[in-house]
Symmetry: C2
Subunit: 557 residues, 2 copies
């Protein structure tokens, strides 16, 4: 623990008030003080209680969301405990938890997270991307109206404490567009890996959190047709292969292609969004269900439904046909052959598919029923799915069922930057990886292999079988750290050898370095391979070399 403030202003000494935990000292009495309420606090809590009580009664009156009411009641209770008789309330006694929909990452979870993020980051860098970072909150008006009515409700607002009105970022794309509009940057290939925040109904067991990662790669700039898109798809293909996600496909479609299919089916553009949301279900639901929804809920007539169904199910109805073949077949359909929008969309997709072939993206699957995110996509859209990624895997802690849903998705969006500055539009396309989902898949695979995850990278543990060796152990650590060898030693003057070896096994530390009087006299140390328990003596003189060689031998298969 430290006086972090110094980083920030370099003058905490003249501002003692910036010291954190100012009121806290370590004796029990003041600890207790730290959690008790001042009279002022008690009064304000009592006021809070009153307001809250009224609020809850009101909510119950207009049958508000029970979940929300439940939370208010919980809040009421916690406030009451604050006021409750101190006798039965030990100092600091309140429910210790993270906020709803959030979690701590322990070292194991972090190890998985970092292994996945590393593969994603390496791919972004391999393709020459730069990275930027933006604040975790934005001016509220920057986010205002960007996420639709429903999305807007899910934005976390900060309290007005005097000053600007702020909200937590909901995704990384609107901040990126704000950045482009602000900086007037015209061309950039950037990635951004950061957490975003949504006051969504969390479902931890299905991996849905209120605080979660996004991994975005976007190409902004005026470029030739489909070249940026092809690189986005190449990256998806590379990442999912490196993560060894089994049997994934990248479904591909185009907004204009869908609009064309709607036109020839005689469906009003007004119904585009709502009908698309039904069509997009075809990856999970049988046609009969979707058809029923279109007729009953979306108000299409049987003829429209039949026409549209035959088109969006064209992949399903023509199994085993190549992407190019499938597009050609659709072009030749009398109803579509004359449609301009369909033609333009098909022309563009053919270019993209050709580029992807040249780049070796073999997971591409033209899918006329892919119809998602069409609020903002203006051209090609794509989504990577891994339907069987976890078939053989027991459900993970997160309870996520086998490989459902998409693990990456994106498309072209040429209209966002101009929302901030109409005079300065920048066409963009990109892709975002479903990192939480990928964590779960990788976690599950590790569990399946019952691989124990290493949470620290320590290579050598400096141990001693006897007392009085501390100084020698410290000198050895110094040598090894200087040689950039990851080294630990027990924080005990006279540790037990058994404890030390158990620590090595628990943390999968490959090498133990053992020093006692005997070794000291001979000017050697004992090098023990923890896994095999083999031991050999090596002269202190070339300790570093011996350790490096042994580590190399152990790591080489």
């Amino acid at each position: 623990m430290k006086d972090e403030l110094n980083w920030n202003d370099g003058m905490a000494t003249v501002m003692p008030n910036y010291n954190c935990r100012k009121e806290m000292t370590i004796d029990g009495e003041t600890n207790r003080m730290a959690v008790e309420l001042s009279e002022a606090e008690r009064t304000s809590v009592q006021e809070e209680l009153k307001v809250l009580g009224d609020k809850i009664r009101a909510m119950k009156a207009d049958n508000a969301d029970p979940e929300v009411i439940k939370e208010h009641v919980a809040q009421l209770k916690s406030l009451k405990t604050k006021l409750g008789d101190k006798g039965d309330e030990a100092p600091g006694k309140f429910v210790l938890k993270t906020p709803k929909g959030t979690r701590d990452y322990d070292p194991e979870a972090m190890a998985v997270r970092e292994s996945v993020l590393q593969i994603v980051t390496e791919a972004f860098k391999r393709h020459g991307a730069e990275t930027i970072d933006t604040p975790v909150f934005e001016l509220r008006e920057v986010l205002l109206g960007k996420y639709g009515e429903e999305g807007g409700k899910l934005v976390y607002d900060l309290q007005d404490q005097g000053g600007e009105l702020l909200s937590m970022r909901y995704d990384l794309t609107v901040p990126f567009a704000r950045y482009l509009a602000m900086t007037k940057v015209k061309n950039i290939k950037r990635y951004h890996i950061a957490k975003v925040y949504r006051r969504d109904q969390p479902n931890m067991t299905r991996g849905r959190y209120r605080e979660f990662y996004q991994c975005d790669f976007d190409i902004a700039g005026q470029y030739d047709l489909m070249l940026p898109e092809s690189e986005c798809l190449k990256i998806v293909d590379e990442v999912l292969k490196k993560l060894e996600i089994e049997q994934f496909f990248i479904h591909l479609n185009h907004r204009l292609l869908l609009e064309g299919m709607f036109e020839v089916s005689g469906i009003s553009p007004k119904l585009f969004k709502t009908v698309c949301s039904s069509v997009d279900k075809l990856d999970k639901s049988p046609w009969a269900e979707v058809e029923n929804e279109l007729l009953k809920d979306k108000g299409l007539n049987p003829e429209q439904t039949k026409k549209l169904g035959d088109l969006v199910r064209f992949r399903e109805l023509n199994p085993g046909v190549s992407n190019e073949e499938l597009i050609k077949k659709m072009r030749n359909l009398p109803e579509l052959s004359g449609n301009a929008k369909f033609k333009k969309g098909a022309d563009e997709l053919e270019v993209l598919i050709k580029y992807c072939d040249l780049l070796g993206v073999d997971s591409l699957k033209f899918e006329p029923s892919l119809a998602r995110g069409l609020d903002y996509y203006t051209g090609a859209i794509y989504e990577a799915v891994a339907p069987h990624a976890m078939d053989e895997v027991v459900e993970t802690e997160s309870g996520l069922p086998a490989g459902v849903g998409s693990v990456a998705a994106g498309g072209r969006y040429d209209g966002l930057v101009s929302m901030f500055n109409p005079k300065n539009n920048v066409p963009c396309c990109g892709v975002s990886f479903g990192i939480e989902r990928l964590f779960t898949l990788v976690e599950a695979k590790l569990k399946k292999k019952s691989t124990t995850i290493r949470t620290k990278q320590t290579e050598v543990y400096v141990a001693s079988p006897q007392k009085g060796m501390l100084a020698e152990r410290l000198k050895l650590c110094k040598q090894l750290w200087a040689a950039d060898i990851k080294t630990e030693f027990p924080y005990k003057a006279n540790p037990k050898l058994l404890d030390q070896l158990q620590y090595c096994e628990a943390h999968q530390i490959p090498l133990a370095l053992i020093i006692g009087d005997g070794e000291l006299e001979k000017g050697v140390v004992k090098l023990r391979v923890v896994a095999t328990r083999e031991e050999k003596e090596v002269p202190l003189a070339n300790l570093v070399e011996s350790v490096r060689d042994t580590l190399k031998q152990l790591s080489s298969p």
Copy 2:
């Protein structure tokens, strides 16, 4: 841009309302809609305006902080523009900025940030640390009462949107203590690198932000005297040396030693904190000033001041004396020789100094006047300063003056976890690096060397001097990416060679790979070293090897 929601719940298709930017389409009209206000919004804005107006009047009445009033007025104006005549307000026209006290990191700033963070992270891992992560916000009651009255005012609260009351983390230490208390983890060596939030008066030019990084390394657990502390100090020494910070010292002191000096000077323990804050200024201010403050403001009498001054200035009054010598000299002072607290503190420091010598920490400087963060420190305290780090360097953009203030600090704090769970206390010590400060130092050094910072790692640029080579270029990219060579190509079907070479120079891409008809016929490509403009032909057959070899040659000095 993409439908991120899918990551999060895997079922956005059945929840179209979760799509972000739902109401937004790309035609100008709806863009305009997206930024105009609905009638409902207008009304709510008008209400906001009224409330805000009253608030401002009230604040003026009780002479509130002018800064705060100013912000409210700004807010008032921005609300008024929202309602203002749409004629002079183009769609999306509001001030584009990041929230007060925050910044975007552009690719250059990110490159510096990552280089510094990498060195710090490597050091943590070299010493066997695991990492954890906690949510960016905590239940308000977790932070309540941890940062003192003043600190508490600087905490960002989230708006009550129904549910739990949340606040943004103010540091990484309270969340760590909450984590330990929650998980009942008894032993952990962890690091945590993340942003924290303080509604502080920002001073961007001095590198003081409202959103800033902390890099914490802490050792929790019951261990033998001073061993964890010695590793913390070793890490500080390693990191600052690797960052080539010139002439840094790690000042060292102990709470008990200070308490002992206070006792023998006849100063009441009640005055400990306030007097310490004066004493701690001795690194920046002359004794006369501090003496004056102690007499005038802190109410010490001349005798107390004289006694304390002679003790806390013992390093200053005994220049060129080793740490061990200095402690011995103090022990022998008649007034201190009998003081139990001083003795215990001195005993402990001697142990720590001995361990640091064994570990090769040669920057250690026992400094009896170091007296910071004593609200919570219970044992050894330390602070790394680099007084001359930037002497020869022009002021950086951030205007930060040459190497003032500390770049790392920490100490032992044995009482924090028990604030959350008195029955489950865990003794801790740690250190935190002043990352923003270190960014500035490194940035300054780079500027001094006028090093242009590489923002992308691209190794090869696949170019073409003529039209019709796109397919060939894509095939070459595929090969290079497969070989894990960082490769870019222009997103143009027929780019100009000059543009391509300029791109390489602008981004310091070492190699250009040029392919035209001539090369194609001969089954070769031209490999151009961008810096020297040397070109050589290499057969396509062993393209990857040639590229690897050439890159190796270029990188080897």
